[in-house]
Symmetry: C2
Subunit: 399 residues, 2 copies
């Protein structure tokens, strides 16, 4: 039988997850398996001392102790967040989905960076949203450009965008961390136009050096920021536990939209039993050390093997954002690299806009490749970067 699909579902067509086979993987935001914490004791306690809680339906907003822990964690970062301001969700992506369902209707527009977190693109698109792209510079999202674009929209009588989505710390893919001044200007602009800001900041805890900028939520005086958090980078992605912090009436509505019977109380309790023992700080120290070492290794390999390529050295996170010389077709480089054993993602995937004046439309996106240094070992990084250099060399010759 031919089943009639909803319009949005019928629009989805691109494959969700590239199949990287046995290639060295620089393409995913996977964690380095070498740093996964030992949760055996935490699980033992969760499944015995807390059995009735862990195996029963959980409360829709999350375990009270988990909401407490998250609010303490955010208050520690200067954000004025009580446990009642926290909704526990199935990872930050589930949080973004709930925000879309809460705030946006088919045909609405959202503000995003160019480039942007590429997994968010199909999520936003599946809600029928259009994109208002804004460039970044070294200080993060270009607020002047955003202001100009919002004013043009106003002049043309176009609707105000439904929210601004950004990754202000160790941006994925660009690695840029937004300066404090820029954060304050973004929030002032958002308040003036009454546009909520979605702060998605999974890599914030993975700073290798330098000073932390205040989170957008900690600078939020108007209740304008919905902050997404996750244990994926704090502990391990397999846990699928994250949170949204924001205004209570909004959280209450999102809890109603969250029809999954409450986020898994078992994994919540395992996390709590782990963090209670001080396991988290020890784990994060190890994670920062490992990822800093991976980054340094990849930076050195790139400088050695691909001197043509420009990139910023981020102070944390998972990614390097490579800019190849003009005329490079990164899709071709990526395809060739995959063929000879290393998987990377070509720039086009990170740009949501498709119009003639977008980075993708103008072909500018073709100069970029995102490299995750998180998952591969240092040896794989050396080998994979050599493979990428060979692929680039071959693509240059073919041109």
């Amino acid at each position: 039988m031919e089943v009639a699909l909803a319009k949005r579902a019928a629009r989805l067509s691109a494959p969700a997850h590239p199949d990287t086979g046995d290639a060295i993987s620089f393409d995913s935001g996977f964690a380095f398996p070498g740093i996964f914490p030992d949760l055996t004791e935490a699980a033992r306690r969760a499944l015995n001392e807390y059995r009735s809680e862990a195996l029963q339906y959980g409360p829709p907003f999350g375990l009270p102790e988990m909401r407490e822990w998250i609010s303490a964690y955010m208050r520690n970062e200067g954000a004025d967040v009580a446990s009642e301001d926290v909704l526990v969700v199935n990872g930050a992506k589930n949080g973004l989905e709930l925000i879309c369902r809460l705030l946006a209707e088919e045909g609405d527009t959202v503000v995003v960076t160019a480039p942007m977190y590429f997994t968010a693109i199909p999520i936003l698109r599946s809600f029928g949203l259009s994109f208002l792209e804004v460039r970044q510079d070294d200080e993060g999202l270009d607020v002047d450009e955003l202001l100009e674009k919002l004013e043009v929209r106003r002049l043309h009588g176009q609707k105000v965008p439904k929210f601004i989505y950004d990754v202000p710390d160790f941006h994925n893919p660009s690695g840029i961390t937004m300066s404090r001044r820029r954060r304050e200007r973004l929030l002032a602009l958002a308040a003036a136009f009454e546009i909520p800001v979605v702060e998605d900041s999974p890599y914030r805890v993975l700073r290798f050096e330098g000073l932390t900028e205040p989170s957008l939520k900690s600078l939020d005086r108007e209740g304008i920021v919905l902050a997404l958090g996750t244990f994926s980078k704090l502990m391990a992605p397999g846990l699928r536990v994250g949170w949204i912090a924001g205004e209570r009436p909004l959280l209450a509505r999102m809890a109603r939209l969250k029809s999954d019977g409450g986020t898994c109380p078992l994994t919540q309790r395992i996390i709590l039993e782990f963090v209670k023992d001080g396991g988290l700080e020890r784990h994060l120290q190890g994670a920062r050390r490992a990822y800093a070492m991976h980054r340094d290794h990849m930076v050195a390999a790139l400088r050695r093997e691909l001197p043509d390529v420009a990139f910023r050295v981020p102070h944390g996170g998972y990614y390097l954002w490579l800019e190849f010389p003009e005329g490079t077709d990164s899709a071709r480089v990526a395809e060739r690299a995959h063929h000879i054993g290393a998987s990377v993602i070509a720039g086009d995937a990170f740009f949501a806009g498709e119009g003639a004046d977008s980075a993708k439309g103008r072909g500018v996106a073709k100069r970029y490749i995102r490299m995750a240094y998180s998952h591969a070992t240092p040896e794989e990084i050396d080998e994979g970067v050599r493979i990428l250099a060979a692929a680039y060399g071959a693509a240059k010759v073919a041109r």
Copy 2:
């Protein structure tokens, strides 16, 4: 700042979960804590022998071994389901949500029973769906009534409903199991009108006596059934792992809509390590024994304390559906009962339709109360039923 909400989100208003405080709880579909399985060893193995799998992002369709297990489980029930026909989701409610996103648009209609699984009502409503209600008799959903209603819609040029939603085994709340003949007629009708059928059958495994009817999926020759499954009743609700079995192109689209980074691989692996050891059959034997005993206890208590009340004795599942004498206002009885220490849910909550000719509109729904015998102990069942009888007596006097 006042945030503009999407139309659908702005419509949500009723509280999601009643607060039952310390009252004896007959109102929830909570499991009996006394039967929760010991998953310590399964978790130990998951977190050690399978650490990289359990703590990394999981595959979007679910762990391959989990999809294998589910397909074997369904094939064992006579359904022709390969592992590729299975999408692992965050519980059956998450599955229903994905089906809504896949198949339905704002303003569409879905076929439901009257009464129906009440948690599904806000989910369906949050997608802007309307309800075509169909009665049940002892054999389940009344297919003649459905045919008549579909023909009337066709005569009036109204759109065909987007899917039929039903709980064919130990229906929640009515306890009715659909006969084989009725299942076949429902599928034939659904095929003739090209309406997909969503089979939500969490209680199927909890049969205390009598013979199992074939699942709708096992009778499905047209690929018309989307079967929802869950480990909530197979093992424990806190696991938040369920599945959808259906046609592959539909699953592929739902996997794309499932923007949660894959269902938690840790809980999937814990489940697998438990079922591998034969833990599941032992657990289910204990669960069936406990729930049969709870049911018998509640049936006896009701016959003793509330002889005015009529109900079917279900052969499995969690619920009794009480029909009070004409003129009863069950909301009043429920309120009074809650006040003096026992929580039940009054009939109105289980009817989606609100028109003048609906069970709710005509006031018929007011005669019903749903009683879950799953969660309370036998002693609590005795005491709680006495409380309910007292509340009914008081409401009768007040009338």
